[in-house]
């Protein structure tokens, strides 16, 4: 089967060329520039540029707010990835059982994915606004004073909820597809062996879902690290007191708002290394336990 293709050395490259060009121009080139920038101190207009060695990295790594952002990012990412995946799995299992009107349920569950992160942020902001929000008002009646503009923990909880809500749909689609691919014969055999629904799920369905779950774990971590920017920016803008400033948000604040290119580039390089390392760990250790 593969024999006719072995002589084609150029064709695969030609076919991949458009995609490679995009990756080179939009990923590798900016990344290399960020790496270069990280070693220079420069004013905003680029009028003076001075080689700074590792000074930018030293400054970043001796900054207490950087570690605060790192801690926030870890809590945030873990909560978002686990929350979005477990809720999606629960919903997918339930939607898989629905016989009547299944299509309607599924469409509704997929909807949030079509909402832009910033819009999702604004929706949640309306619900939880300390003065005007519906949910914050209801919480007030229950005796819970909701003020995410002053309470860091509440602010973090709010951006986590908004981010989970947004990502849940994506996970739901994949889990549902994976559930439907579980061979009925295996489940039927288990029923004959008198395995209950709980046992059937954990011993048959769940292991068969593991490739999907692994894929989603990687995707959700990337999502939590990078794509939640719009949500955070609209809901809390990194506040109060830096309680919702994640690493990506800090890169934006220092580079884009503060015009401190060197420090911002150094942070991006560190972030690249961190996410790269995390993905490597996931592939190295977690993937072993995945059953394809």
């Amino acid at each position: 089967m593969s024999a006719p293709f072995q002589h084609h050395r150029v064709t695969p490259w030609l076919l991949m060329a458009p995609q490679l060009a995009i990756v080179l121009v939009f990923f590798f080139w900016p990344s290399l520039q960020a790496i270069e920038q990280a070693f220079y101190v420069e004013d905003a207009f680029g009028l003076s540029r001075e080689f700074a060695g590792l000074a930018n990295f030293q400054a970043v790594l001796s900054d207490a707010t950087y570690y605060q952002a790192l801690g926030t990012t870890l809590v945030f990412s873990l909560a978002v990835a686990l929350g979005a995946m477990s809720i999606a799995l629960g919903l997918a299992v339930m939607a898989d059982r629905v016989v009547r009107g299944a299509r309607g349920y599924r469409t509704l569950l997929i909807w949030p994915y079509a909402v832009a992160p910033a819009v999702a942020g604004v929706l949640w902001l309306f619900l939880f606004d300390p003065t005007l929000g519906l949910v914050s008002g209801a919480l007030g009646h229950l005796g819970i004073a909701w003020d995410h503009k002053l309470d860091g923990a509440q602010a973090l909880a709010l951006v986590i909820m908004a981010s989970i809500w947004k990502q849940m749909s994506y996970n739901f689609v994949f889990f549902l597809a994976a559930l439907q691919a579980v061979p009925k014969s295996l489940l039927e055999a288990a029923v004959i062996d008198r395995a209950g629904p709980w046992r059937r799920f954990w011993t048959i369905t769940f292991p068969l879902l593991s490739p999907t779950a692994f894929f989603l774990l990687v995707m959700n971590c990337v999502y939590a690290f990078f794509e939640t920017f719009g949500t955070i920016d609209t809901v809390t803008a990194g506040g109060p007191g830096g309680a919702t400033t994640t690493l990506v948000y800090k890169v934006y604040q220092d580079g884009f708002v503060g015009q401190d290119m060197g420090a911002s580039a150094a942070q991006s390089v560190l972030l690249m290394a961190l996410v790269g390392g995390l993905t490597w760990v996931q592939f190295r250790y977690l993937e072993r336990r995945v059953q394809y």
Binding site: D43, A44, D151, G241
Partner: protein, 438 residues
């Protein structure tokens, strides 16, 4: 915002069209700005009126997003040699622009080299002072400037039996107590733009330094001082007031405004340019009063300082473009254009003549309270503490201060500790700026 985008792209298309029609005779001047919504429409109109008034130049305004986006785009475009001729930069970006000596043309030099009438004395010192060098030369043309004032809910005040807004913080405390104790409102006072109102303007009005070296006007070696002045007592006062309901923190930027609109807070300190918004959102009778001063610190209020943005001219223009920009600035400074902009937007006029014209037209009589801001900034000659702020990395410093205030109001740190930490972190940024701009 979308509408402004559409309009501005439509403007570009139209400008391109007319440019082609009249061949090379017409010089195009690009103006990048950050005015969305209704303000963006007004910017379009000002440019269109200027274009109609003469036929040598076409000013093309382009909406580039919010202030920081506009600034970043302009800097990136300048580095790629594709910068606009004029760019609107917010007041906290002033030090960065000033330090970029090779990248900008100071307005006073531009006006002197061009064939236009330019009288620096015609401008209001409290407005232009923010944008002049130590010798008093204007570096950028103030465009939209505002200053914080006190807005009050007349109905709640009447319910509490408070006749008028007192002039000092001490008396204000008693008035707020009455409001809360009488049950007229659950919260006395809130503020928008916390650092700008409660630290920067408090320092100016009460003539205490926000930073050393005349708030940075005299050099980049300025360091923050607000943790050693009456500001500490002031923040302490606000935390005390927070406990008994006299004060409530409502977030950064304009986030606190709903507390005032909803009648939760009887008073709000906010930008004079919010007037139109408040009028639209408040379904009660409201009034405008000056910001109070601290009777324990000064005997009389100093002028307050401005916020907003100014227009900078980027370097690299040929003579025709320079002349065009100068003529546009001259047009923009005329009393008619300024008075119209001031009345439409609530931003301060930049010349005395425009303020006088507005008064003559009966605008202040018709809209009581709109003259409070102008009276407040023209109260006396600006001192070293009330000329404005010229600090590098001011965007982040303001962010740090707001973060510290949030920690203080959340009860995590004491006012002194919170302000000390903010000053220490802010000073690191100032040192960095000093090193980068030696």
């Amino acid at each position: 915002m979308q509408r402004a985008l559409l309009l501005s792209s439509l403007g570009t298309v139209l400008a391109l069209g007319t440019g082609m029609g009249s061949a090379q005779a017409n010089t195009e001047i690009t103006w990048w700005h950050a005015m969305g919504g209704a303000l963006g429409d007004k910017v379009e109109q000002i440019a269109a009126d200027f274009n109609a008034s003469q036929d040598a130049y076409t000013v093309t305004p382009v909406f580039k997003g919010n202030y920081s986006e506009t600034m970043t785009s302009a800097i990136a475009a300048y580095r790629a040699d594709k910068g606009p001729d004029i760019v609107q930069i917010y007041e906290v970006g002033t030090a960065t622009m000033m330090a970029a000596k090779g990248a900008i043309v100071p307005v006073h030099r531009l006006m002197a080299s061009a064939d236009v009438d330019f009288d620096p004395q015609a401008y209001l010192p409290a407005v232009t002072g923010y944008y002049t060098d130590p010798e008093g030369n204007m570096l950028s043309l103030p465009f939209n400037s505002s200053t914080p004032v006190t807005y009050y809910n007349r109905e709640r005040l009447a319910q509490a039996g408070v006749e008028e807004i007192p002039r000092t913080w001490q008396e204000l405390g008693d008035a707020l107590e009455k409001i809360v104790d009488s049950g007229a409102a659950s919260c006395g006072l809130t503020t928008t733009w916390p650092s700008w109102v409660m630290l920067e303007n408090y320092s100016a009005i009460n003539d205490v330094p926000f930073a050393s070296r005349a708030n940075g006007f005299e050099g980049t070696d300025a360091r923050l001082r607000f943790n050693r002045t009456a500001v500490v007592d002031h923040i302490e006062r606000l935390t005390r007031w927070q406990e008994d309901g006299r004060f409530a923190y409502g977030g950064r930027f304009d986030d606190a405004a709903p507390k005032f609109y909803a009648g939760e807070c009887a008073l709000m300190m906010g930008s004079s340019a919010s007037y139109a918004n408040i009028k639209e959102n408040a379904d009660f009778d409201f009034g405008v009063a000056p910001l109070p001063y601290d009777a324990e610190v000064v005997e009389q209020a100093n002028n307050s300082i401005i916020g907003g943005a100014s227009l900078w001219v980027l370097n690299g223009l040929d003579e025709t473009h320079r002349q065009g920009v100068a003529e546009f600035f001259e047009y923009l400074s005329t009393p008619e254009v300024q008075a119209d902009w001031h009345q439409y937007s609530g931003y301060l006029p930049i010349t005395q003549a425009a303020a006088d014209l507005t008064r003559e037209q009966g605008f202040y009589a018709e809209h009581p309270g709109t003259d409070v801001a102008i009276e407040q900034i023209t109260a006396g000659q600006p001192t070293d503490n009330s000329k404005g702020l010229r600090l590098g990395n001011m965007v982040q410093i303001r962010d740090i201060i707001n973060g510290a205030l949030e920690s203080v109001f959340a009860g995590d740190v004491s006012p002194q500790d919170g302000l000390d930490q903010a000053a220490a972190r802010g000073n690191e940024l100032l040192e960095k700026f000093e090193r980068a701009n030696r």
